[in-house]
Subunit: 237 residues, 2 copies
DNA sequence: CCCCTCAAACTTGTATACAATCACAAGATA
DNA sequence: TATCTTGTGATTGTATACAAGTTTGAGGGG
């Protein structure tokens, strides 16, 4: 997110506050719609409003907060339109990165590694470790970017987009009841499996189709979940 | 309850300042390396440092300014690495958008329109109207995004990236001497022409190749220009 | 019970003041 | 002359104070 220079700088106060709030919002500990106040945060961080204000302004730019003059600052609701747009970018870019790696013959020797990751993911589901599964899913996708030295693409494909990040927690079922979450999680991992299978079979067209299907999956899940009354308050109307 | 969000809001001071500075930096009126100070800007805008500070912080996030504590705020040099990354995104995404439009058969009836735009571009070159050519180039590329209702993609493909924007002025020769600029400008317009020709000939592979060649053109131009001593000071080492 | 009035408490927007650090130039010293 | 010291101004970081608008809730009237 922030272009970390090589030097270990003392984290400045506004960055510290921004980092703390961003993470609390991304993990939904701070629920969409919750009201924050600059003064309250200032007391919490034992400083004046100025450093807090800088963090709040940045969170506004990133779409994590929405400050209204003389009213307050509210944690933004998850914007499904934004999620759909980021999803499209991700489909186009990540498909290209994976297929380029495939065409370069880089993926064949790595099929066993991929299958190992997928087995780990299955284990996490069986032990109901959904937070770990979220990390494992991130790792699975990061893998292809690193292989192609295209990590920077992720800055534009939802790796740091607060709306996509939060939506993904639902797609992976982290925020849902047990009976709801297993279906989608198993789906996602089985999609990973079919991607690995297509690579193993050297079936380029199948790989492309499975990738697109995988990325579009989040849409289907979200349309379903966002219509659920239980979660209505989390999404922008 | 008068929650009219449709009302035309008075542009807030920080946004006004941000907009003004962003444009001055994007057009290179404020040259890379130039030093600004919050207090000086505050006097210029007849306000206190607080609204200025907000604009400056945002320009820092966007990479247009680099503020150093107790030293000053400096207009950033053009970062060629960032330009290359944005160029890659643009190649992948815009190629996909254009080819999707091609596959949907949307482009055939619009070939005359494209040729008209290209003729206008040629006229601008002959009259040495490089600023207008920049706008016309923008319009030519926007055209495909609008056709596919994918305008939002441009937010991620350099339409608003300060480094790419400034680099593009060089690719189009706006900031260079007459003898230097004609070559590259004519190249760019003739590339547009070959793109239109490929569409007219229904040659999908040629269209894809010409698009990629067109997007990669900015790299060649920039490697050449950034090595020129005359412009060395504008680029990050 | 419902609705209106109004004042106090909040909240963000902005101004001013001070603190901490850096750059630079003038002067002292060898 | 060359180098170090030092003081002054400049610049960003932070704190406090006030301005302007919004929310909230108590109290009164119907």
């Amino acid at each position: 997110m922030n272009t970390d220079n090589n030097m270990v700088e003392t984290p400045k106060l506004p960055e510290e506050i921004h980092y703390y709030l961003w993470n609390r919002i991304a993990t939904l500990e701070l629920r969409p719609g919750v009201k924050l106040s600059e003064l309250g945060l200032a007391e919490q961080f034992n400083c004046s409003r100025i450093p807090v204000r800088e963090a709040v302004r940045r969170l506004n730019i990133e779409g994590a907060l929405e400050s209204q003059p003389q009213r307050g600052s509210f944690v933004s609701k998850i914007n499904l339109d934004k999620v759909r747009k980021v999803r499209y970018l991700r489909e186009v870019l990540e498909t290209r990165v994976v297929l380029d790696a495939f065409d370069a013959g880089l993926l064949d020797p790595l099929v066993p590694l991929l299958k190992g990751m997928i087995n780990d993911q299955k284990t996490m589901i069986s032990f109901n470790e959904m937070e770990k599964l979220t990390e494992a899913d991130t790792l699975f996708h990061d893998f292809f970017y690193h292989l192609q030295h295209k990590e920077f693409v992720q800055e534009h494909t939802g790796r740091y987009d607060i709306h996509y990040i939060r939506a993904r927690r639902f797609a992976l079922g982290v925020e849902r009841s047990d009976d709801q979450k297993y279906d989608d999680s198993i789906n996602i991992v089985s999609q990973h499996e079919r991607i690995a299978d297509a690579i193993e079979r050297h079936d380029r067209q199948a790989l492309e189709d499975e990738l697109k299907h995988h990325f579009r999956n989040i849409n289907h899940t979200l349309e379903k979940v966002s219509a659920n009354e239980e979660f209505e308050a989390l999404f922008e109307s």
